[in-house]
């Protein structure tokens, strides 16, 4: 059974005249690393908000269709119930940390769920170590860099041990190197813990290599849904505002010029480099 499944999901914000997402039917399997991408305003954030019930509970408006997340009807369950299964990391690291120390922030969700102190302490330390911020645990979040803050936000979600972690452009305020480090942390969690990851991201250059499922949206609809290599080699994707990895584009150009490269579309420069090296042998 898929861990996230939507059927003909459509949603209109209360103040909007037309739906922000339309007829979305997707399936995400347990343990997948899903990448959602598409031009600005195509409804990625809106879709993510349906996964933990922020839509329709927090945003109201009209939600049609079916949505099942972790075996639960996310449209019916309140967000605080869904929060045990779906962790959500938002774009702006600053506005999702409220406590005056890192460890207190990481404990916030567990405190809300009423965990006893001993188990809470264990989980907090575990999450801090996984995200590499154990040494910063007594610092105050607002005197940390954006990358560190985003790690705190991830740790805070992990401490609740959800089955799914949804990250909505978690690195758009960060420089490429810090972003890369965050993605590595996320990928590691996906590999080690079997955590299902849903990542919204524009910069496919940095992220396509981690994904095993990619969803491309445009104007509130799903345009492509499948394996990254297959989806990204489709010419139609070039017409939507999607940042196809440079390695993939270069590969196509070389191929068109008649270079004798392999047939698997590369997703990052390292893969392409390996292919070129192979060809030059």
């Amino acid at each position: 059974m898929p861990i996230i499944e939507t059927k003909n999901l459509s949603y209109t914000y209360p103040s909007a005249s037309r739906p922000s997402i339309q007829d979305i039917s997707i399936k995400v399997e347990k343990g997948e690393f899903v990448l959602i991408t598409g031009p600005s305003g195509c409804g990625k954030t809106t879709l993510c908000r349906t996964f933990n019930g922020l839509i329709p509970h927090f945003y109201q408006g009209e939600l049609k269709g079916e949505i099942t997340v972790a075996g639960k009807n996310a449209a019916k369950q309140p967000t605080m119930e869904m929060a045990k299964h779906v962790g959500m990391v938002f774009q702006n690291p600053e506005n999702q940390l409220f406590a005056l120390s890192v460890e207190k922030d990481v404990a916030f969700g567990l405190e809300n769920l009423g965990f006893d102190r001993k188990e809470m302490r264990e989980r907090v330390n575990w999450a801090l170590k996984l995200t590499g911020i154990y040494d910063l645990r007594e610092r105050s979040p607002h005197e940390m860099s954006g990358g560190q803050q985003q790690r705190v936000a991830i740790a805070a979600v992990l401490a609740m041990q959800p089955e799914i972690i949804v990250l909505d452009e978690p690195t758009s305020f960060l420089d490429p190197l810090s972003a890369e480090k965050i993605f590595e942390v996320i990928y590691d969690l996906n590999q080690k813990l079997g955590l299902t990851v849903v990542l919204v991201e524009h910069r496919l250059d940095l992220t396509a290599k981690y994904a095993n499922h990619i969803i491309i949206m445009d104007e509130g609809k799903i345009c492509f849904d499948g394996k990254p290599r297959e989806v990204l080699s489709k010419q139609e994707t070039r017409l939507i505002g999607v940042g196809i990895p440079k390695a993939t584009l270069l590969y196509e150009m070389l191929k068109k010029e008649g270079a004798k490269l392999g047939n698997t579309t590369p997703l990052c420069s390292k893969e392409l480099a390996d292919m070129v090296q192979e060809a030059l042998k």
Binding site: N52, A83, F90, E94, N95, F98, E111, N112, M120
Partner: protein, 263 residues
């Protein structure tokens, strides 16, 4: 910003910082009570000096002096108002009694400022929020308190950015008379309020996503506990209270003017 300097918390670790904030609060209340029951300057001065070792132990002398300096304006105001009222109500004479009474009032004020600033200088906002939580204040209040503390620097920074941006577009903040100057701040306030609202919506969303309100019985990562130091402070403050009450009831405290033999 400098106005709040005396009340700003810096991370220092000392025996005083580690005390239970609830105990420190009891201490402030008792000092308040004692300062109010005395009407003569000598006990009030004693009370003032008695707290100095406390400040030294907490190693916050610098900030403490700064907050006292900040209170100086108000203190001298109190002093002169007292002298003036005595002067006008008691037959236009200025005598030693008037001056000593005014000094007593001022010292009392300084004692209050002193104990307050010791409390705020040695209690982290985190601790304070925790104390609120564990004294059965609804969690919403203590959360609002810590969040406010957390976001004050953020908003201050944002206000600065908006001010710079509006100045770059030709807004002149320091021009015109008083009313005009207030009106000049409208283009700064509106974006600030809009962004604060947006920020609070994002915060609310993030709180929801982390199971805010999932159980009635919320737990806490930290626990406040009375330790040895807290019992010592409790004993000390109780001692001070007993001595103070005894003195007020049975010991005639001389005034300085009596000691000096001035009428």
């Amino acid at each position: 910003m400098s106005v709040f300097d005396g009340l700003k918390f810096r991370k220092v670790y000392s025996p005083i910082h580690n005390l239970d904030p609830r105990m420190k609060f009891i201490y402030v209340i008792i000092i308040f009570a004692v300062a109010i029951i005395f009407n003569t300057i000598i006990p009030l001065l004693t009370l003032f000096l008695m707290q100095v070792p406390f400040v030294m132990l907490a190693r916050v002398q610098k900030q403490w002096l700064r907050s006292l300096r900040g209170a100086m304006f108000l203190a001298s105001f109190i002093f002169f108002i007292n002298i003036a009222t005595n002067f006008f109500t008691q037959g236009y004479t200025l005598n030693a009694k008037n001056i000593e009474d005014a000094a007593t009032m001022t010292t009392r004020f300084l004692v209050l400022v002193e104990s307050f600033s010791v409390f705020f200088l040695t209690t982290s906002p985190d601790h304070l929020g925790l104390a609120l939580e564990q004294t059965k204040v609804p969690y919403e209040f203590s959360f609002a308190f810590t969040t406010a503390v957390r976001f004050v620097p953020v908003l201050a920074e944002e206000a600065q950015t908006i001010m710079d941006a509006q100045k770059a577009r030709g807004l002149e903040l320091e021009k015109g008379n008083f009313l005009k100057r207030i009106r000049n701040y409208v283009p700064v306030l509106i974006p600030l309020i809009v962004s604060a609202i947006r920020r609070s919506l994002e915060l609310a969303e993030a709180m929801e996503a982390r199971a805010w309100g999932a159980t009635k019985k919320r737990t806490n990562l930290y626990a406040l506990k009375f330790n040895k130091g807290d019992y010592v402070l409790l004993a000390l403050t109780t001692g001070v209270l007993i001595v103070a009450v005894y003195t007020v009831l049975y010991v005639p405290v001389p005034t300085i003017r009596a000691l000096l033999g001035v009428p």
